[in-house]
Amino acid sequence: MSRIAACFKALAGGRALIPFITAGDPEPGMTVELMHALVAGGADIIELGVPFSDPMADGPVIQRASERALKHGVSLALVLDMVAEFRRRDASTPVVLMGYLNPFLAMGLPGFALRAATAGVDGVLTVDCPPEEIESLAALLEQSGLDPIFLLAPTTPAERVARIGRLARGYVYYVSLKGVTGSANLDIAEVTGKIAALRENIPVPIGVGFGIRDAETARAIAVAADAVVVGSRLVQEIEAASPQTAAGNLTRLVAELKAAIR
């Protein structure tokens, strides 16, 4: 059983909290410490953003995080090193890489899958690669023991949901609104209704993200979702904090969110 599947099994119906941070933000030396800080606060799974020069699906908060990381020369290879470093002290918390396709392509997809698995990565979410384009990507990841994680949108028609449901492993990431990461127009009633409909075709747990900014929203979303993803709000915290306070602030914020969805 993959670490992700084991994580959901251990929760036994409880909701998973999935915090997101960008690798290398605010600087590469802090990422592993911040990952441990997320776990200390109660993170069940960590989504680690791979910085990219052109993050088309991200709002301004995560764009700036990407830019800060890239200023320090953070590459995909370095992100994998960070995960390997994290694994030395944490053998159980699943880590999912969330990134854009081109850095993965530049490493070579088979080589990337192998190196990611060796580093201790558990899943890969490729934001800009729908299943039609690289049919082999999901299989390639699975062969290396990685879960291919897919996005679903409010606009995804039923037949596509079914198709993605057949390929998805670990969990799916339902984008809760029309917009980019960190937007502010989340409609909880609509999301709840959508999740119920998705269950027919999605055999894996359903996580919800994009626009979850506080404990109250997290609680409301967790009524229907199996997992709650929080990104921009945490990245904002990193942006506002000093290097000395960032880890402590993240732990506290994650603990608040975790308490809200319990």
Binding site: L101, A106, A153, T156
Partner: protein, 399 residues
């Protein structure tokens, strides 16, 4: 080569093209694909498009024999396809008319666009005014500064211009921001993409709307010279004016097709915008194609004196035409383009756009080695009024 019928149903030109976007955009692109497939088979759609091109844009644009310049070069005869004479001063309006008519069919009242030099932004603002639509144009903050007359032009036409300060503050970042707007306002908004790149179906529909350039040439050249040209040459940034003039010639034997990229300070300097010459395939802005990227797959900053060519990628059909050998791609430096710009002003009384000056420079470089009875047809894709501040500054003059 057999009958050329690319792209395939998924928008692929060989290994290039495709629809590499986040799930949040897939439905919108599918909707566009379906609507365009309907429009493409609807004679009434094309009749209106042609009507607009004739009475609003002023087509057909003439082909002009650059006699004095050809004489001076002493070789092949240079002919110019005068897209600079179109309403708004460039080829861009051929595409914005087509896409605005599609937007209207789809009931979208708000259009957005990205722009580099501002030509596509102006052409988008123009059609939005013409059809009574709201228009928002995204433009890199650096481009807003270096193309201020076009920014004001867009505002006069009623558009909102949003400067984009992320990334390299140029065209690629404006495109990112336009995509973000689209994904947020997808129900009400039509994205008028300005070049033959981006996710399927954009490369195909931009090509189809620009193909009018080559179709007219195919008819006009025999009338003027008794035959088709030996060489057709166009500048290539994203590649819309080039694919527009190339496409109708792809199946015509004996016509060389040459695309000219911006070599900036020279390919060897690394400061250029020539992905076909010095890049390698990768995925950006929703499609697979040659891309200027570093070893880690990050997109590199580009340089060209011409804002309209200052883009790290190139449309997928050009990538395919390069690999297949049907078209050739070469490059021209800033200095060569500027020399051609001045020659065209002095010898022909035409101020060309700096983008088009790259194609002119290639023609001027190549013509002397050809015989006097051979013909080079250059796509003069836009006029250079927008560039006079740039050219003056490079000559140490403040206007």
């Amino acid at each position: 080569m057999g009958q050329y019928d690319l792209p395939d149903a998924g928008g692929h030109f060989g290994p290039y093209g495709g629809m590499y976007v986040a799930e949040t955009l897939v439905a919108a692109l599918e909707e566009l694909k379906v609507e365009y497939a309907r429009a493409r088979n609807d004679p009434a759609f094309w009749a209106e498009y042609r009507h607009e091109l004739k009475y609003y844009v002023g087509r057909p644009s003439p082909i002009y024999h650059a006699r004095r310049w050809s004489e001076r070069l002493g070789g092949a005869q240079i002919y110019l396809k005068r897209e600079d004479l179109n309403h708004t001063g460039a080829h861009k309006i051929n595409n914005t008319i087509g896409q605005a008519l599609l937007a209207r069919r789809m009931g979208k009242r708000r259009v957005i666009a990205e722009t580099g030099a501002g030509q596509h932004g102006v052409a988008s603002a123009t059609v939005a005014a013409r059809y009574g639509m709201e228009c928002v144009v995204y433009m890199g903050a650096d481009d807003v500064k270096r193309q201020s007359p076009n920014v004001y032009r867009m505002k006069l036409l009623g558009a909102t211009v949003v400067p984009v300060s992320s990334g390299s503050r140029t065209l690629k970042d404006a495109l990112n921001e336009a995509m973000r707007d689209w994904v947020t306002n997808v129900d009400s908004t039509f994205y008028i993409l300005g070049t033959a790149a981006g996710p399927h179906p954009y490369p195909m529909l931009v090509r189809d709307f620009q193909a009018i350039i080559g179709e007219e040439c195919k008819q006009q050249m025999p009338e003027l010279t008794g035959r088709q040209p030996d060489v057709v040459v166009a500048c290539v940034g994203g590649g819309s004016n080039a694919i527009g003039i190339f496409y109708p010639y792809i199946d015509v034997d004996g016509v060389r097709l040459v695309g000219v990229e911006a070599a900036g300070d020279g390919i060897a300097s690394g400061r250029h915008a020539a992905p076909l010459a010095a890049g390698r395939p990768g995925v950006l802005h929703g499609f697979n194609g040659y891309l200027m990227q570093d070893a880690n797959g990050l997109v590199m900053e580009t340089h060209s004196v011409s804002a309209g060519l200052d883009y790290p990628g190139v449309g997928p059909e050009h990538c395919y035409l390069k690999d297949s050998g049907r078209a050739e791609y070469d490059s021209v430096t800033d200095d060569e383009a500027l020399a051609a710009f001045h020659d065209c002003c002095h010898l022909e009384g035409i101020i060309p756009a700096l983008e088009s000056s790259h194609a002119l420079a290639w023609a001027a470089r190549t013509a002397p080695a050809m015989s006097r009875d051979q013909v080079i047809l250059v796509n003069l894709s836009g006029r250079g009024d927008k560039d006079i501040n740039t050219v003056a500054a490079l000559s140490g003059i403040t206007l």
